[in-house]
Symmetry: C2
Subunit: 340 residues, 2 copies
């Protein structure tokens, strides 16, 4: 019997290798538009595509053995590395680094305190050396002590102006075209699509609806504690510098139960952190489908799996065959990677 606890702060978000980044170039926002009825998945080659189309066809065939009643058509998607690029670093970590620079004038003590000093000096090795605990401290310091509404604006402004270091595009364009098609295809077939990510819930909500067509109430993520206050200017929720929930690994089934209250029938992930979500969706739960995106495409994106510090895919890849999870080979299965 394997036992997990969701109490550890340790897994928070992004205890990742830090890689230097250069930024450039603006561009227009992508549209999560529905694909033509003729071919709902035009960016998919045959392979994983066939398993998806069969599952959805069966799920919507009333009276068939694979039928799933509409209320139970719950599909959950990891975000980092599944719906958008997580290399060379988690997008929310890039956000945190930028926030350190913006907030530094209000924190003179950061000039001598790691990992803040490392961020300000451009010494990312020093940042990495601060370890998980240092990263968590940095995320807390840059993500808290403001209201949820203020944070939403900060996150929305940043996502509108920041650029991916490799592609020179807004991060919200560095999303996977085949996944936009899959989200739309599922919704067209009566599925409710949820994001279930280790990333911050209030970091994702401001743009998830526009980019993925997933409304705020269908975003599940990690969170800090919130405190209600009735101020003279009106009621606010204040983000506290304390972790409330870590939606990663064994936290993912817990997050799904908290928010959805049913076991999903379809789960899509790309790393070992998605293992428990796929287990919860598929084991002893028929019909169901688990998909694992394998980043095999060094040419169009990045090739990484067992040795990566970001989005490591190792034990889940070993578990896939015995669980019947479909491994999506990015290079072979996807005609296109990005919308651009």
């Amino acid at each position: 019997m394997r036992t997990h606890t969701t109490e550890t702060v340790g897994t928070l978000l992004m205890a990742a290798a830090l890689v230097a980044a250069t930024c450039s170039g603006p561009s227009a926002p992508p549209a999560a538009r529905a694909t033509p009825a003729a071919d709902p998945l035009p960016s998919w080659n045959d392979g994983a595509r066939q398993a998806i189309v069969k599952f959805v066809g069966d799920a919507t065939m009333s009276g068939g053995p694979g039928f799933v009643p509409p209320p139970e058509r719950i599909a959950v998607f990891d975000n980092d590395g599944t719906l958008w690029s997580e290399q060379p670093m988690y997008v929310q970590l890039a956000f945190a680094l930028d926030r350190v620079k913006v907030l530094a004038p209000q924190h003179p003590e950061w000039k001598t305190k790691q990992p803040f000093k490392g961020v300000l000096d451009g010494d990312l090795a020093a940042v990495a050396a601060a370890g998980e605990r240092g990263i968590v401290e940095m995320v807390m310091a840059t993500h808290a002590a403001m209201t949820s509404a203020e944070f939403e604006k900060v996150a929305a402004d940043w996502i509108a102006s920041a650029r991916h270091p490799k592609y020179g595009k807004p991060y919200t364009e560095c999303v996977y075209q085949p996944m936009l098609e899959l989200l739309a295809y599922l919704r067209a077939n009566g599925f409710k699509t949820f994001i279930v990510s280790g990333g911050g819930i209030e970091f994702m909500r401001p743009w998830a609806e526009k980019v993925y067509g997933v409304p705020p109430e269908q975003v599940v993520g990690s969170s800090v504690k919130l405190q209600y206050e009735l101020r003279p200017g009106g009621p606010v929720l204040v983000r506290q510098a304390a972790v409330d929930f870590v939606d990663d690994k064994a936290g993912k089934p817990v997050g799904i139960q908290k928010h959805v209250g049913r076991r999903p029938v379809l789960a899509v992930g790309n790393s070992d952190g998605d293992t428990e979500m796929l287990e919860w969706t598929t084991i002893g739960h028929v019909p169901s489908l688990g998909l694992l995106v394998h980043h095999t495409d060094a040419g169009r994106e990045t090739a990484y799996d067992r040795e990566s510090h970001v989005g490591r895919l190792d034990t889940a890849l070993d578990e896939a065959p015995s669980r019947g999870w479909i491994v999506v080979d990015m290079k072979a299965d996807w005609k296109r990677v990005f919308p651009f």
Copy 2:
């Protein structure tokens, strides 16, 4: 400035006066059916009804000053005393008392330990004397140490067989007919309806969809911590004997933010515990509507407000006029109270 914390376990669920209860009589389940288009709110007299119809009419009039875009049409409803009867005691407390009796053979120590002894002896004064802390201990002892799926079955079986002590009907029939109509009317006008209750989220979900038309993913409530385990028989979530979240008072706006991620435009409550939810929905947030059900009907239901231990309505009633909240006078505003 008023400040609240959601950390206190103190407000959990049901620190209520305990009133002796007698049970009787079976009956058929109610239907949360949509009302005829001709009159969407047939059980409502003019009064509060006019404010509701005007708000919904304005919210759906594109281009008008009261228009609310469909994604923002979020309506939140308290449950106990708002959607169903909470007198003579919270339904979930009746459930906990019954669970103590069922589980007693496995807990010989309960024969001498309060509040368990009081429950087994039928000495509810002794139970009440154990206070909030005793009640919380009892709820934890009867609601934890099983999987979420097991708890769902226990709750579903109980709700199917238990009877309201006053009406002799299943609790799921002791729901307010005008509220069933309001829920259906809102959904017919593009609103998404959520329950936001101090009651247990996993206690409500097994029947909320059938009774209210509210799916599990739109139920917000109090919760215990969950732990994921992969057992030989498959994955489970185990309910821990530890409070995770108290969805009452200042916890309600927090629960709404966690689950919905937007401020609602319509909130319906009936007690001081709903104050912060109505504030969060209405203050500085236009257009919006707050409704407070006032239990004024001793003949058809129960009349109670400022002095009641269950569902006390005191400070919120004072706050209502200055906030513009509509007080629903049950006796005057409702043609019918229950479906039966």
